[in-house]
């Protein structure tokens, strides 16, 4: 456990010691700022009944941040270590494969959550400006955080897995971006095939990321969605462990 915490600290520290960490934070800040601006301009024109979090979630910015930032955050996890050779010093230290995978995953997830903190500042400012406490209730806020966290789990675990397959950070980022966007686009595929008979449209509807997220921003925490996100995460983490272990198969 102590070794795991040492690894986790190093992973988190690595983000803040590296240039790419700050670039990610700055880019996300910019996108959040733009989304804040568009939110304010919409609210200035007409009143709305929609809760603020859902308002934000409906904009493209949320998905843009999620799909763009997660590959950039996770691309370094394994690929950089493999490229620089420190993977060999890491894996010849008395550390198991699972703690390494979990520490890298949780480190990236921690950084991802830090990256989102300005969002709550934005929402709080709007709430202050509108003077309406119901615009952002603590329940919806908590639901949104949980939703962002769970979606992050899925995309971060995907990114870590992609990174463990290659020596190149670029390839890692491209792979996780392509698969990530693919997963996201399934949400749009679902309505268009809903008229088809059989099980296919039903499965697609269940796999839709957006559908699952919508409930969270309304403040509804449904265990089905939690289980859905967590099982995808566990699946990718399992693949990640196998990829790390695969050096012993060759």
């Amino acid at each position: 456990m102590r070794i795991f915490l040492t690894l986790l600290r190093r992973e988190l520290g690595g983000y803040f010691a590296s240039f790419s960490g700050y670039v990610v934070i700055a880019s996300v800040q910019l996108l959040l700022g733009l989304s804040f601006y568009s939110l304010v301009s919409v609210l200035n024109q007409e009143g709305s009944e929609t809760p603020l979090a859902e308002f934000f979630y409906e904009t493209l910015y949320f998905w843009l941040i999620l799909l763009m930032a997660t590959p950039v955050i996770t691309m370094r996890t394994f690929a950089l270590e493999k490229y620089s050779g420190t993977y060999e010093t890491l894996m010849t230290a008395p550390v198991g494969d699972v703690p390494v995978v979990l520490a890298k995953f949780l480190g990236a997830l921690g950084f991802y959550m830090v990256m989102w903190t300005p969002l709550f500042g934005c929402l709080w400012v709007i709430r202050q400006l509108t003077g309406d406490p119901t615009a952002l209730e603590s329940g919806t806020a908590a639901g949104t955080v949980l939703g962002i966290l769970l979606l992050g789990c899925v995309y971060i675990s995907l990114g870590c897995f992609a990174s463990s397959l290659t020596h190149s950070q670029i390839i890692a980022a491209m792979t996780s971006f392509a698969v990530g966007v693919g997963l996201y686009l399934l949400s749009f595929l679902a309505p268009s095939v809903s008229t088809l008979p059989g099980w296919f449209p039903k499965v697609l509807k269940q796999m839709s990321m957006m559908e699952h997220m919508r409930e969270f921003v309304r403040g509804v925490v449904d265990t089905r969605h939690v289980v859905y996100y967590l099982s995808i995460t566990v699946f990718f983490l399992f693949l990640n462990c196998k990829a790390v272990e695969s050096r012993r198969w060759k």
């Binding site: 040492t6 690894l7 060999e88 010093t89 010849t92 550390v95």
Partner: protein
């Protein structure tokens, strides 16, 4: 020539071997590693006793790094067994890793960290607790001469200092065995000298296995050499024995000013000299290359003879073969064997 083909019995006397059988640091038996169709190492057998400094010598691609990676349990072998401190590298990797300090080729480091921070991270990773980790980091910083750069970012250090950071990392948890893959590659002569001295100092407490393709390096630092070529061990012995083996038992070269006829008669009449070869040099001097019978040291004999005859002697020395000669000799021998 009769070369010991496996490292097991060739260099340690039997009674000594029996006594030490429980204290082998490394035991490798029939170790083979294949990548695809390529065989990187082929049925390697050798043993290393505790406290030895053993040099792995071979050209690039001989299988040195592969063997070291298997020993550090980074990757498994295709077949065969390897044990470090009595623990199997494949079945008990954690026990093995706790006992070794491994510095891979090109010495990879986290270049974004500071020296002390990095060493503390590595110490904790290797299971040292807070206070103990701090103490050990201080010790290795001193041992490797890193105190003055302990606060610097590793990426900003010179190659020599980085190499020392790698060594300090390998040492930090006081491992029984230190495995260093090409520890002096890319360093300038001064840095090489200081790193070699450091490695020599380590032998007091640790067993060291180092690889290199630079011949004088093993000659200077190692007590024993394993010569590796194309995944096989060509020879395993002390540097001294290897020299003796190739030079045919201490050839002596003398430059003497004397009539060639007298010299010829003199060497023919001397029972200690098995073979001789004379070549005229500048002035009256003649270069005599003398091969002794039964490995006798011919130098006093030569000296006595020149004094007796009143000849002038300007140079007298034993022809010491460098490892380079041995290496060329051995690799050529195997090549000829293959072709023949």
């Amino acid at each position: 020539m009769n070369l010991p083909q496996d490292g097991g019995g060739g260099f340690i006397d039997e009674p000594q071997a029996a006594e030490m059988s429980t204290s082998w640091m490394i035991e490798v038996e029939d170790l083979t590693k294949r990548y695809g169709g390529h065989t990187a190492i082929d049925e390697l057998c050798f043993k290393v006793a505790r406290g030895e400094i053993v040099g792995f010598l071979g050209p690039n691609g001989a299988g040195k790094s592969t063997t070291m990676r298997i020993l550090s349990s980074f990757m498994p072998a295709t077949s065969g067994t390897a044990r470090v401190g009595g623990f199997d590298v494949f079945h008990e990797p954690d026990e093995v890793r706790r006992r070794i300090g491994y510095m891979p080729e090109n010495n990879p480091l986290h270049t974004d960290m500071r020296v002390r921070e990095y060493l503390k991270f590595r110490a904790r990773l290797k299971g040292l607790l807070g206070g103990r980790a701090r103490d050990r980091v201080d010790v290795v910083l001193g041992q490797c001469g890193l105190e003055e750069v302990s606060g610097k970012v590793i990426g900003h250090l010179s190659k020599g200092y980085r190499q020392r950071v790698g060594l300090a990392d390998a040492l930090v948890h006081e491992p029984e065995l230190i495995i260093l893959d090409e520890p002096t590659i890319g360093l300038d002569p001064n840095q090489i000298r200081s790193v070699r001295q450091l490695i020599k100092d380590l032998s007091v407490k640790h067993t060291v296995l180092l690889s290199t393709h630079i011949l004088p390096e093993v000659e200077m630092t190692c007590s024993r050499v394993l010569i590796l070529n194309q995944g096989k061990i060509l020879a395993a012995d002390t540097t001294l024995n290897l020299q003796r083996m190739v030079s045919g038992g201490g050839q002596v070269v003398a430059e003497i000013a004397a009539p060639e006829r007298d010299l010829r008669a003199c060497w023919e009449g001397s029972p200690e000299v098995l073979e001789f070869n004379l070549s005229p040099m500048d002035g009256d001097y003649i270069r005599c290359a003398l091969t002794p019978r039964d490995g006798v040291d011919l130098r006093p004999v030569v000296f006595d003879l020149t004094v007796k005859h009143g000849w002038k002697l300007r140079d007298l020395g034993r022809n010491r073969h460098s490892l380079e000669d041995i290496f060329v000799h051995l690799t050529r021998a195997t090549r000829e064997e293959e072709e023949g």
